[in-house]
C-alpha cells in the first residue's frame, strides 16, 4: 500500500454555480485500499466533491483520475456517455436516501445492472446477488421488495447493489444520515467489513466516531476548501485549525445532547 502514484486523484477541483463557488481548488489523492473520510458542516462542498468523483456533479475546473483514466473528460455527448458509463462501473456509490428501485425485489435491485452491463446469465446473476447479500447479511431478504425493509436493511441492499458491479472504489454520501440511531450500527458494520477487505473508499459522513475508527485519513472541509487534513487521531484529537476545533466542539455538543 505504498504506491506512489495515487489510485484516485482529484486535481484542482473547482465547481461553481454562477457566482457561488462551491469547490475552490481542491486536490485529493487516495491510494489503493485507503479509506478517506470527508467531514464538515453542511454546505461545505463535501458531497459535491464526492459526486464530482463519478461526474454526477461535473466540475467546472480541474481533473479527476482513476488509475490511468481521466474520469471527467470533455468529449462530444455520445462519446462522453459511452466513456462515463464505462467509468462508473468501476465506482460504486451509496446515497443518503438509499435510492433502491422500488419496483424491483432485492434480487432485482442487485442484479439489474450486472445483467444489463456485463451480459451475465440469470444463474450467474443470482449467484452474484446471493454472494453480495450474504456479505451484507441479508440473504434471507432476497425476494423482499424494498418497501418491506427497514432503513438499515435498505442501505445494506444498496451497498450490495453497488458491490455487485465489482467496483474499484466505493463512495458513501452520508450513508447513515437518514437512519434511525439504532440502525446506524448495522450499516457501519458492513462498511467496516469492506474496510477490512481493503476496499478503497471515500466517505462523506457526520459519524465522527466511525470515521475515527475506520479511516486512514480525514479531510475537514468548510466553504469549499479543505481546511485541514491528516490522520484521524490528529484531526479528531488535536486539530491545528480553529475552524476544525469549532466544528468538532459543536458536533460533540450536539451528539451528547
Amino acid at each position: 500500500m505504498t504506491d506512489q502514484k495515487p489510485f484516485l486523484d482529484i486535481r484542482n477541483a473547482q465547481k461553481s454555480y454562477g457566482d457561488l463557488e462551491v469547490l475552490k481548488d481542491i486536490s485529493l489523492q487516495v491510494q489503493r485500499g485507503q479509506i478517506v473520510a470527508i467531514i464538515g458542516p453542511s454546505g461545505s462542498g463535501k458531497s459535491t466533491l464526492l459526486r464530482a468523483i463519478n461526474d454526477l456533479d461535473p466540475l467546472t475546473g480541474g481533473e479527476v483520475w482513476l488509475e490511468d483514466m481521466q474520469i471527467n473528460k470533455k468529449l462530444p455527448h455520445r462519446q462522453y456517455e459511452k466513456h462515463i458509463n464505462q467509468v462508473r462501473q468501476n465506482i460504486g456509490m451509496v446515497f443518503q436516501h438509499f435510492n433502491l428501485f422500488p419496483h424491483l425485489s432485492v434480487r432485482g435491485n442487485v442484479t439489474l445492472a450486472p445483467k444489463m452491463l456485463k451480459g451475465i446469465s440469470d444463474d450467474e446473476a443470482n449467484a452474484l446477488a446471493e454472494e453480495q447479500l450474504e456479505k451484507v447479511g441479508l440473504l434471507d431478504r432476497i425476494d423482499y421488495y424494498p418497501s418491506r425493509l427497514s432503513g438499515g436493511q435498505k442501505q445494506r441492499v444498496a451497498i450490495a447493489r453497488a458491490l455487485a458491479m465489482k467496483p474499484k472504489v466505493m463512495l458513501f454520501d452520508e450513508a447513515t444520515s437518514a437512519l434511525d440511531p439504532e440502525l446506524v450500527e448495522e450499516v457501519n458494520l458492513v462498511m467496516k467489513k469492506l474496510a477490512e477487505e481493503h476496499m478503497t473508499m471515500v466517505i462523506v459522513t457526520h459519524e465522527m466516531g466511525f470515521a475515527e475508527a475506520v479511516c486512514d485519513r480525514v479531510l475537514f472541509m468548510d466553504q469549499g476548501v479543505v481546511v485541514e487534513e491528516g490522520p484521524p487521531s490528529k484531526i479528531f484529537r488535536n486539530p491545528d485549525n480553529e475552524r476544525t476545533q469549532n466544528f468538532l466542539r459543536k458536533h460533540l455538543a450536539n451528539a451528547n445532547r
Binding site: 454526477l56 444489463m116 418497501s147
Partner: protein, 215 residues
C-alpha cells in the same frame, strides 16, 4: 316520457354507441402515441425538439377541439387533405388529446425521484437503459389514473364529431329528434349510453391501476 318510442329506436342507438366506442379506442391509441412522442420531445436534450413539443402542447390545448376538427375536415380539402368524417374525427381528436397526454406522461416521468436516476447512472447504466428499466416502470404506474382522466375526457369529446356528421351517439340523437321532435328522450338515450361506456372504461382503469401497484 315516451318509453315506447325509446324502445323502438334504441337498437339504432346501440349501433351508434358502437361507433362511439370505435372512435374512442382509435382516438385513445393515436392520443397515446402522440402523447409518448410529445413527452419524449418535451424531455429531450435538444432545445429544438423541446420547443416543438411545447408548441404542440400549447397549440392543441390552447384552441378549441371543435375548431381543430373543422380545420381538418372542412379546411383540409383546400390544402389537399381528403378524409372521411370518421378519419378526420379520429385524427383530430387523437392529436388533440395527445397534447393533454403529453403533459400527463411527462409529469409522471419527472415525478420520479431524481435519486432513482442517479442510482442507475452511477451503476453505469446509460440514460436510455435507466429510462427503460428504472424510470418508466415506475412512471407507468403513476400515469394510469391521470391517463384515465384524459381518456374519460376524450370519450365525452367524441360528441364533437357529430358536428362533422360522424354517425355516433350525439349525431344519432339529433337525427332522431329531427323526425320525432322528442329531444328529451333522444338525448337521454345517448346520455345513458355515454355513461355506460364511461363507467366501463373507468372500471377498467381502476382495475389496471390496482393490478400495477407496487407490492
Amino acid at each position: 316520457m315516451d318509453i315506447d318510442l325509446m324502445m323502438r329506436v334504441y337498437p339504432f342507438f346501440l349501433t351508434a354507441a358502437w361507433v362511439t366506442v370505435q372512435l374512442s379506442v382509435y382516438t385513445a391509441l393515436l392520443g397515446l402515441a402522440c402523447g409518448a412522442l410529445g413527452a419524449s420531445m418535451r424531455l429531450s436534450r435538444h432545445a429544438l425538439l423541446r420547443f416543438i413539443g411545447a408548441a404542440y402542447v400549447s397549440v392543441f390545448r390552447g384552441t378549441p377541439a371543435l375548431i381543430q376538427l373543422f380545420i381538418l375536415y372542412f379546411g383540409g380539402p383546400q390544402i389537399g387533405i381528403q378524409l372521411t368524417a370518421f378519419e378526420a374525427g379520429v385524427i383530430g381528436l387523437g392529436v388533440n388529446i395527445g397534447a393533454y397526454m403529453t403533459e400527463t406522461i411527462r409529469g409522471s416521468i419527472i415525478a420520479i425521484d431524481k435519486g432513482q436516476r442517479e442510482a442507475a447512472r452511477t451503476l453505469g447504466m446509460s440514460g436510455w437503459q435507466t429510462m427503460r428499466k428504472v424510470i418508466l416502470p415506475q412512471s407507468a404506474r403513476l400515469m394510469i389514473r391521470p391517463l384515465g382522466v384524459n381518456i374519460n375526457a376524450l370519450i365525452k369529446g367524441t360528441a364533437l364529431v357529430a358536428a362533422i356528421s360522424v354517425v355516433e351517439l350525439t349525431y344519432t340523437a339529433q337525427r332522431y329528434i329531427g323526425s320525432t321532435y322528442k329531444p328529451f328522450e333522444m338525448f337521454m338515450l345517448s346520455g345513458v349510453l355515454y355513461m355506460v361506456i364511461i363507467y366501463g372504461t373507468g372500471q377498467a382503469i381502476k382495475w389496471l391501476d390496482r393490478k400495477a401497484r407496487i407490492v
